[in-house]
Symmetry: C2
Amino acid sequence: MSLIQQIIGGDRRALAQALTLIENDDHNSQNILANLYRHTGHSHIIGITGIPGVGKSTLINSLAKLMRKRDDTLGLLAIDPSSQFSQGAILGDRIRMRDLLGDKGVFIRSMATRGVLGGLSSTASAAVDILDAAGFDRVIVETVGVGQSEVDIASNAQTSIVVLCPGLGDSIQAAKSGLLEIADIIVINKSDYPKVNLTKSYLHEMIDIGRAAQTRGSETQTTISDTHSVSNGNLDTDNSLWEVPIITTVATTGEGVGDLFEQLLAHYNHIKSTGEMTRRRNRRLRAIFESQLRKQLYTKLSQMLSEDYCLRQLEVIMEGETDPYTAATNCIKHFETNYIGDEE
Amino acid sequence: MSLIQQIIGGDRRALAQALTLIENDDHNSQNILANLYRHTGHSHIIGITGIPGVGKSTLINSLAKLMRKRDDTLGLLAIDPSSQFSQGAILGDRIRMRDLLGDKGVFIRSMATRGVLGGLSSTASAAVDILDAAGFDRVIVETVGVGQSEVDIASNAQTSIVVLCPGLGDSIQAAKSGLLEIADIIVINKSDYPKVNLTKSYLHEMIDIGRAAQTRGSETQTTISDTHSVSNGNLDTDNSLWEVPIITTVATTGEGVGDLFEQLLAHYNHIKSTGEMTRRRNRRLRAIFESQLRKQLYTKLSQMLSEDYCLRQLEVIMEGETDPYTAATNCIKHFETNYIGDEE
């Protein structure tokens, strides 16, 4: 039986193996992804994002227990910038998720892809597709950090949960990092801490400002995927019909997590019934397509960087005889003139 | 007088204009950078990174005042993921820096580059080069957020300051995001808050673990720039001679900021006297070279994406007739066969 068939058949070892191939950027990964693709599209893909320390792992642990009560299967992907310092922290996360260990309906995987040129978001999309093809009812993608790459990853989800906690520059933490723009549901965890109401009212204000800006912006912006949804007859795809709920939780006790799960289900129903689902699917496909193109170009880049010509340019820069801007242009020219010949 | 001469001559309007050209990725920007390059290399480049809300802006305001007392000129670059929600936050930052406004020896610029494919880190490096060429004694690069792209930007600095505050998952916030690896100086701001000693002892432990891991790791890793420093005779470039200081500050009152400035100067002297300066310069040049290559490939990517062939592939994906992985491979092949012909 092929790896593809094993994965679709629910074989967890085959699944883990495929994820490793993707993570290592094995030459077979492209092929696996292309073959699994037609089995995707059935999972509810949930993104959970927030700065480290707000309690995402504990929240996921609570949420997963509710999903399992309904017999929903769950694939969990934690995208972690790999760091020699973070070993202990990842272990800590797994401890916070101990209730899930040993449950056949739950699959947990950490992926660390730091250093792979442009690989973070393309590896994450690919892993989501594999979990989707493996038949999980819900796939949770947890990102650690609140930078641009994390926002890119999170924007692939059908439902994006942004987790905050009271205090610490209040809602500014989320506003600055661009996270609020992608939130379908906002969670204020550790809501037993002081200042929770202040944080909540700040957030409401931010969302109102953001919505006003979005309404103005949408008059001028049209992307390829938008145009496509319109041509499919899905004119009624405006996400502004969805009022982003702000839910307060105490993940350690499970308080509020029931509300969060209800809102997750409500949002999934909302996007299915309004055509927003198709719009997000198309947006995600476009993103995967672009990140695959980017990735293949990166492969060429690393080939270029190991070529004698580029290595020599680098030396010349370091000797102070040229600048890195001119040297890069020279390399690209060299590549354009010589690459195709090298291929054959 | 040309723009280049004006910038070198200290004309602030010309400087602002050049930064705008870079930010907009104007077709002249490559040329400007190549011409300014030989005037760079004189500024002390300082990175300040940390999650939103730890008080970076207030800290920079205090630090800048100390620099100005010594008559050091200062260029400040705040790299901000542009967000419709963040307008207020940026304004807030500028208010926290009000002491610096109107001072001719200080130049402040926010750059928002979200959405530019791979542009964040290459725009940041380019802007640093421009400020360096403009003759500032110190250039501070402030990043907002703690994701992978922020770590990439911060690693360009000669001296990297990582700012934390007590509580909130303690030092885990920094460990997870990979920030500690790049820290030359760690600041615990808001040190009048509770738990500051706990945070400090956690951090000391993390640094010890990290240093042990680094020592093990360095036996197997050799990069081009490492090799280069060795061939230059700079064998004595091990940064482990520098003990990363952990400084507690209360930026709002200025407490501890004097210590921070002393450590900044000490670190700059350290890297100049040990050859670490050359090693970092070479690492940065390599990073600029790579990001310029990446950027030029991205330009090709957007050309590809607007070509009929790729647009058609995207439609076929959305109609469900192919998968994005195969479609991307098709586009790259199409590009390889046809691109050079299109150039002429």
